[in-house]
Assembly symmetry: C2
Homo-oligomer: 371 residues x 2
Amino acid sequence: MQSFNPPIRTLMGPGPSDVHPRVLLAMARPTIGHLDPAFIGMMEETKAALQYAFQTENELTMPVSAPGSAGMETCFANLVEPGDKVIVCINGVFGTRMKENVTRLGGDAIVVDDAWGEAISVDKVAQALSDNPDAKLVAFVHAETSTGAQSNVKALCELAHQHDCITIVDTVTSLAGSELRVDDWGIDAIYSGTQKCLSAMPGISPVSFNARARHKLTNRKIPVSSWFLDLNLVMGYWGKGAKRAYHHTAPVNTLYGLHEALVMLTEEGLENAWARHWQNHLELKQGLEDLGVDLVVKEGDRLPQLNTVWIPDGVDDLATRAALLNDYNLEIGAGLGDLAGKVWRIGLMGHSSRKENITLCLAAFKNILNK
Amino acid sequence: MQSFNPPIRTLMGPGPSDVHPRVLLAMARPTIGHLDPAFIGMMEETKAALQYAFQTENELTMPVSAPGSAGMETCFANLVEPGDKVIVCINGVFGTRMKENVTRLGGDAIVVDDAWGEAISVDKVAQALSDNPDAKLVAFVHAETSTGAQSNVKALCELAHQHDCITIVDTVTSLAGSELRVDDWGIDAIYSGTQKCLSAMPGISPVSFNARARHKLTNRKIPVSSWFLDLNLVMGYWGKGAKRAYHHTAPVNTLYGLHEALVMLTEEGLENAWARHWQNHLELKQGLEDLGVDLVVKEGDRLPQLNTVWIPDGVDDLATRAALLNDYNLEIGAGLGDLAGKVWRIGLMGHSSRKENITLCLAAFKNILNK
């Protein structure tokens, strides 16, 4: 057994995206204790920078010590109590996973289905809310990583609030890549990832809860089934004015990495990051269309950071992705679920969203598809 | 907001221990995709090396993508079904946490209490098993991180099996630091940490399940309440011969770090690592006794990697630890729970278990205590 030296790839799949060398080096800094006063100071800066990234003043804003899937589970495990009726919108893999969360936690999932690759229909959600006046929560994905479609968060939150429901929103792929305004849009509970448009390593998951969501979690009738994810306990370590009581050992070096990624976000400016993702999307889209490769999602609903395209007729999915990886060290994503074998997912996220990557990707595609 | 440059500490608390520079540098290697063929190869090596570290041939041996507390929850969430009676041994903080896990999952916890700082009484467990012939599981901590006491795993597992119970064993602090033989001792389900005697970064948790434990988890009547920790799903990504189906995005760089730590363990040899921890413990113990500082745990039950000592009469806990940290950059651990304010915990774990650290620690103590 020998040390592992990974190949040097360009990551243009659905995440992880290329991690910036500054973030990689930050992770290599010497580990200190998770209760060290110097570490506590870094935690405070991280929380403040996450509030900026989320555009929120929510006090409960922090990274969960596990990947985005655990961020999702943090929201559901804390907010869903057995018997709670939850409207779950499904227009891709991650909506399906939300339903699985609700069911396992003893909730009653009312599914609103939309076609994969389309935005969530606000009208259908309105109907579901009318049909289920006892619903307590509405859960949906802002940026569906499996399809590249984005939905109208603001409209869905307004609607949910008219029916006195709490919203849980998945923004794993949107955070720092396209417009996202937690407070202005009225999102109650949100989770995201670090390995997409923040260009940090995978492994932790920023979350944020507003007062309405906190009220539900602090007034539960039975404890959260997960000790590890129970925010009532976690906040003893991460919370404002908390005594930094030991709950679990924080992933110290991973948090160094997130902190550095957030420093870089503040340097670039959030709106500049959104604009960069958008401009690069336009350039990639033009190039793909010139090659005769069509986007799956209709204009207006497209995510700039995740471009899902139909695999052209007669082109071999596996062979093409293998050629990109082996001959160009370029990773793109396969289709998931209903779209497996039919689409590719081309990410332009965070540090991967750069002109040179678009150029490489288009040139490599041209070489392979013209064979 | 600026880049965070941590102070350079010597970590002699209950973990994290000093992370070896080789592990830090491994984490800084370029991120690749969690489905990249090169990454899959590294995963296989990591599983094999964890089997070596655990001394097991269990096929289900892998790191959970979250800290040790989530490793604990992985064992309980997968193996405890609502209504299951579980004998839980409590002789410190982590036994208490086990009970909390059982209760939140709908299990019925039968507590066997022992004094903090003492080993678990095999006789009391025998009595509890006789009193509860319908018990399904026995859970206990091998190496109590809150007290520094170790218990007789082999005897407890034999006893549990006589009563047809499955064992769940916490070895967060023992793995790679003192003798641990999963197969020889008959452990059914085990979890550990990376940030103790493996000297890797905190954030992931190795687990291993034998055939008996797997049988229970694959024959559950209701699904695991946690989607994220459900091993029936996780094994689609990590399992032998699995299709490497996407479950969650693996913490790629953290896994680089664990891989490197395991390379170093194979270089040193597991039994040599155990012997090093033991020799360094004897040296520290002698030095502490020369300073008039007494160990809490009685000889025979002491963990070599975690030395819990009584705070001498008239000595200020907080002021002493602050002086060690501020004047010597040396971190030791405070007491937890019942032992808060009464003891210190001095770790000699992994890369921290070195002669120069013992020398520094003893000299610093001498300077401070003689004031």
